[in-house]
């Protein structure tokens, strides 16, 4: 049994940290008022704070329990919700887990429960943004043969698209730079990692890069059937916020 208490657990912002904080909550039988990233916390009066630290073993035990007692689908939703970077996602995850331990694998079908639809809808926005980026990412070839791309997503989509691009371009070194979250997916043709970066490297493009960009724009513009122009429809399918990083609009 967990007791609802006016305490706020803080964690370091990492997924491992969040899982460890949840472990600590359960360990102390606390149903906290909130779980906050210690990096951007606002002090709430009348609340106690409990700091936690990321711990591989604790996090591992929580994750294993999700797979064992709920389902891998539930884990995927939790992870996506974490990546959403939205306010209040930590408690959505906590509420969902609490419901999940009660109902087991069937929890993801119970979309009428508040704790369930709140979490799954949060997760889905990130998952669908990640899906769009599989198509909308544009690489530019650099002088050194690396294919470089910039994106500005709302959620942290890199972990969700990494596998897709590494499989598809398995022998092509590439980088996908998330400017909004200052992280960069780097694949060298063998192994992949996500690095924190806050600077944009000086980019020197390959000689033939410009020519292919022009051809792509040519193709993009020609393929439109003018008699069928429909801006509204394009806008809803390809919102303006993606345009800045897409070759056809530069």
């Amino acid at each position: 049994m967990l007791n609802r208490r006016d305490v706020i657990y803080t964690y370091d912002g990492s997924f491992e940290g969040l899982m460890s904080a949840i472990f600590d909550c359960y360990y102390s039988h606390d149903y906290p008022y909130d779980i906050c990233n210690e990096g951007n916390m606002q002090t709430v009066l009348l609340c106690d704070y409990i700091g936690t630290s990321a711990d591989r073993e604790k996090a591992g035990r929580v994750m294993n329990s999700i797979f064992a007692k709920i389902s891998s689908e539930a884990f995927y939703h939790i992870y996506c919700a974490y990546l959403s970077e939205t306010k209040g996602r930590e408690m959505k995850i906590f509420d969902f887990l609490h419901t999940g331990y009660k109902f087991g694998a069937s929890v993801t079908n119970r979309m009428n429960l508040d704790s369930v639809w709140r979490l799954i809808n949060t997760a889905k926005t990130v998952a669908s943004e990640a899906h769009l980026y599989r198509g909308f990412i544009r690489f530019k070839k650099l002088e050194n043969g690396i294919y470089y791309s910039e994106i500005e997503p709302k959620g942290r989509v890199l972990p969700l698209i990494s596998h897709h691009f590494c499989e598809r371009f398995s022998s092509m070194p590439f980088m996908i730079h998330d400017l909004n979250h200052a992280e960069c997916l780097v694949y060298n043709g063998n192994s992949v990692e996500i690095r924190e970066t806050d600077s944009v490297p000086l980019l020197k493009y390959a000689e033939d890069e410009q020519a292919f960009q022009e051809m792509w724009r040519e193709f993009y513009n020609t393929i439109t059937i003018k008699e069928r122009r429909n801006e509204k429809c394009r806008m809803s399918l390809l919102p303006k916020r993606y345009w800045r990083c897409m070759t056809e609009f530069n």
């Binding site: 979309m111 690489f139 897709h164 499989e167 598809r168 051809m215 394009r234 070759t247």
Partner: protein, 427 residues
Amino acid sequence: MEIKEKLRILSDAAKYDVACTSSGSNRKNTKGGIGSGAEAGICHSFSADGRCISLLKILFSNYCIYDCQYCVNRCSNDTERASFTPREIADLTIEFYKRNYIEGLFLSSAVIKDPDYTTEQLIKTIEILRYEYRFNGYIHAKAIPGASKDLIAKLGLLVDRMSVNIELPSQKSLLALAPQKSKENILNPMQQIKNGITESKQELAVYRHAPKFVPAGQSTQMIIGATGESDKAIINLSQGLYKKMNMKRVFYSAYVPVGTNPLLPTTAPPLLREHRLYQADWLLRFYGFTAEELLSEKNPYFSNIIDPKCQWALEHLELFPIDINRAPYEMILRVPGIGVRNALKIVKARRYTHLTFDDLKKMRVSMKRAKYFITAEGKSYGNIWLRQELITPMLLSENGVAGFGQISLFDDQVTGEDRIKCLTGEM
């Protein structure tokens, strides 16, 4: 001629083919290769007409020896002409693919010397991609009507999807506007592809490494509004193609006036009609409807005002309202405004609880149209009571026009005048 120039001419010539989907392939990348399929397909961009761009869609050549009246490339038309070489297309595809512009290639061609020669050029191009560049991305190729069986068989083993376009929905129209293409020239390769797919699946069941023949299935396209067939004739034909030819998709393309033949219309493309046909097509494929249920001899056209599902429901009010907690899945699918995904959500959730209207809202099931057709826990939504003469105006006033699941593209094109006409029964 410069490649860029060719690209402009030959993508311009290819743009009227509407198929641009990249779904149905789960081809894996190979060691040292490049590319992979994505089962659900991926849109890489959207053009200003709102259509998905997924494949590099080009013609190998637009020097055509035929003279199909509805086509820009007909030999009697005065238009810029160009031809690629196989290597040019292969290189362009790879460079575009590496930059993630595209999901693969959609290669078609006008009939250059004869159908066999043309098909050989397509094969050469795709062989460079598959063997030399070890390209595992999506390839959709057009089977040229009249090409020999051997060549079609060879092409089928290289690509993910193949299509033979029906173009005109009846033999009469074909005869009048595309006299060099016979019905047999279209249906025979279709039948051959269908058989090839079936055989290949059987072989795969026995030998895991048997070569795959057109693994993402075949599709076709019909031009809408160039000739006089009714919606009913078109939807019946589609149903036949899905059943008899195991078609993956039938595409509909509103005729854009490019011809000068007096038999052809010169007006703007009938976009709303095309949209209705897509909606009906969806109903056939995913909602368990048959063509006969949707349209009758008496009423062979879809409404301009409401989508085909609404139209059907209003004609069958005796079946409604249905109880959201008890009705079978098949019936929930038939409620206007409830799409496949929401229907699934409902049947999953109701296993554990009695759903109320509040629950449906939380599950993000839109009540806009559905509310007239369902009850929950014995109650109707806000005590709405069901009578056709009341529902129709209400549906209209809430702009519940067009679209279910798919984005309603053409709502704004239904003018006030059309609405009034419909209500007074003039249309």
